[in-house]
């Protein structure tokens, strides 16, 4: 196992190197740049700014400068914020993270529950009902869902704030602050959960359907075990195995931000900032953030493979 992990860690180097090349050159091919976007600039000023920002260098040279800085841990300097990229990301990423984490936990909890129940009672009214809800959520664009939720819970009922992370102008500290943030989190978490739950529920339902037909389930029942024990101990465990892969997809997303939901709820997250950086072509910020997510993606894929080996020793042994 140890050798395997070390080998995989070693493989990360060419993967990330490839990713850095792809990321840099893709962004450099995107039409438009930060300086040209300002229509008020005179040509002389533009030329001066090009010089100041080093845009006149060939792409390849710029890539190596970027790479060199990356290796030193320097993600670059955001043009729009006039701050180091790392600092900008740090300013926004944690608020994205708490919402994503809350919704991840909620999503998995509900999806597992619903998936199991739907699978056990396949084609029952309950199963049909859940299926319809899941597909209705899937036929709804996310901005639309956000608007509807705001309309109902914030505007009409007035139960919860329509957006933002803290009450405007408030100076809460300690528990008061936590409570305030929690209150503002509810609606965005709700929307993210609704958006994410559909796919996961379907996967669980299918996996459970698969698993409960396996021989070992029949064996367990034949042994006289209670149905609940059979389902949860034997069934769920095996249905969860392939879910490790699904889970690994979600890890980078914890830090990736949710662009639309953050925008609609005015949540000060990295997703909304990424989109804004795109609209002004703040390439250092865009590339730095993408590279950061790339590292997380590669790491979580590795993690998934390792976890898989731990959870299902047979897979590993065969290797």
């Amino acid at each position: 196992m140890k050798g395997y992990v070390v080998k995989r860690l070693f493989y990360m180097i060419p993967t990330l190197f490839g990713a850095s090349i792809l990321i840099f050159f893709l962004y450099s091919l995107v039409p438009g740049n930060f300086i040209d976007a300002d229509q008020n600039l005179t040509a002389e000023r533009k030329a001066e700014l090009y010089e100041l920002h080093g845009y006149n260098e060939p792409v390849v040279i710029r890539y190596f400068i970027w790479l060199k800085n990356l290796l030193k841990g320097d993600l670059g300097y955001s043009l729009q914020f006039q701050l180091p990229v790392g600092e900008v990301i740090g300013n926004y990423i944690w608020s994205s993270f708490i919402v994503a984490l809350a919704s991840l936990i909620l999503t998995w909890f509900i999806a597992i529950l619903v998936g199991i129940v739907s699978a056990i009672r396949q084609y029952s009214i309950w199963d049909t009902f859940i299926t319809i809800i899941v597909f209705a959520a899937m036929a709804t664009p996310s901005f639309f869902l956000g608007l509807v939720i705001i309309k109902i819970f914030a505007v009409d009922l007035g139960w919860l704030p329509a957006g933002g992370m803290i009450s405007t102008g408030s100076n809460f500290t300690g528990w008061e602050y936590v409570k305030d943030v929690a209150e503002h989190m509810i609606l965005p978490v709700l929307v993210l959960t609704m958006l994410g739950i559909g796919g996961l529920t379907r996967y669980f339902r299918t996996n459970m359907l698969e698993v409960i037909k396996q021989d070992f389930m029949r064996t367990a029942r034949a042994k006289g075990l209670k149905e609940r024990v059979v389902i949860f101990k034997h069934g769920l465990r095996n249905a969860l195995l392939p879910a490790i892969t699904l889970f690994s997809f979600e890890l980078p997303a914890l830090f990736g931000g949710a662009i639309i939901t953050e925008q609609i709820f005015n949540w000060p997250g990295i997703g909304a900032i990424y989109m804004q950086a795109f609209s002004v072509r703040d390439y250092p910020l865009l590339m730095g953030f993408t590279m950061f997510i790339a590292v997380l993606t590669v790491l979580s894929n590795l993690l998934a493979d390792i976890l898989y080996g731990i959870a299902d020793p047979r897979v590993r042994v065969k290797k």
Binding site: A19, P31, T245, N301
Partner: protein, 306 residues
């Protein structure tokens, strides 16, 4: 042990595959839900492709004197922000949305499925290569890619009405790693089950193992993934227009019909703008799903019994 009987019967008839297919078809036709799904889907397809021929509004363009009208005898589903008949646009939009949604589904399932199976089945160096490529592709940022595609297609003066299909194709080509990884992990865990161990012991050929034993077990996953991707693809089409990769006005798609009703006011005051396309997507997705469930049950006899 009815199931073993079924298996035995199946095995007996294996050499003559035509009867296997006949069996699948029979089982499929016995499933009421999947027939309903099939009927729905055929209805939606006819509605979109034949329907416009019966509409008096197909060639009529913008009518600024007649905008945002609620449903009436002349306009069964009302008119939109430019005075166009919503029902007619719904039918025309269906042509594009169905092609996009179903096309994306087929491609993502085929590419992701095949690569995942190869990777999980052969393991070793093949697996390593495919998975490392997948790693790199998964780190690929989607947005710049779309911008670049838009620029290239525009430079080549590809007619705007074809761009959406090219884009969907390219997205499937770079978008396979997710499904491939899922399929691969499923295959890995299947390979360790007793029945696969048995095939090993029996010395079955690879193709036989693949097609007769592994594939039927992967199909449920492929079906879920496929049905899930239909709705997403239909909706995402509308957002592609931001890059100039989507459907260009005045052409309609279900996605951009919903997106054009983009405010709380439209939501409240003009439900006829967003309910019909929303319902169309919903019905399409659900009927494909019913169809998928039926197909799965028909192909994999294990699945029908509990």
């Amino acid at each position: 042990m009815e199931s073993s009987a079924v298996t035995l019967e199946k095995n007996k008839k294996l050499p003559r595959s035509s009867s296997l297919w006949r069996q699948i078809a029979r089982r499929f036709l016995q499933n009421k839900m999947s027939l309903i799904g099939l009927a729905f889907l055929i209805f939606i397809i006819l509605f979109s492709f034949i329907g416009p021929f019966f509409s008096p509004y197909v060639n009529l363009g913008v009518d600024p004197t007649n905008i945002n009208q609620s449903p009436s005898a002349q306009h069964w589903l009302g008119t939109d922000k430019l005075g166009r008949d919503v029902l007619t646009r719904l039918m025309l939009a269906g042509r594009i949305s169905l092609l996009v949604g179903l096309g994306a589904m087929v491609m993502s399932v085929v590419i992701g499925g095949v690569l995942g199976i190869i990777s999980g089945f052969y393991r070793g160096i093949v697996d390593q290569i495919i998975m490392r490529i997948a790693d790199v592709l998964m780190t690929l940022p989607g947005l710049p890619l779309l911008f670049i595609m838009a620029a290239i297609l525009s430079e080549w003066k590809v007619p705007t009405e074809y761009r959406i299909y090219i884009v969907m194709l390219m997205l499937s080509i770079v978008g396979w790693p997710g499904l491939a990884r899922l399929v691969r992990s499923q295959i890995l865990s299947l390979s360790e089950r007793q029945f696969m161990q048995a095939t090993e012991a029996l010395g079955l050929r690879d193709t036989r193992k693949l097609f007769k034993h592994l594939l039927p077990n992967i199909i449920p996953l492929l079906i879920v993934s496929g049905t899930l991707s239909v709705g997403g693809a239909i909706l995402s089409e509308s957002t592609l227009s931001f890059f100039g990769l989507g459907v260009v006005p005045p052409d309609a798609s279900w996605g951009n019909m919903i997106t054009s009703a983009n405010s709380l006011l439209d939501f409240q005051k003009r439900p006829w703008l967003w309910v019909p396309p929303g319902l169309a997507i919903f019905l399409t997705v659900i009927s494909i799903n019913l169809l998928g469930d039926g197909l799965r049950d028909a192909i994999d006899p294990n699945m029908r019994r509990r």
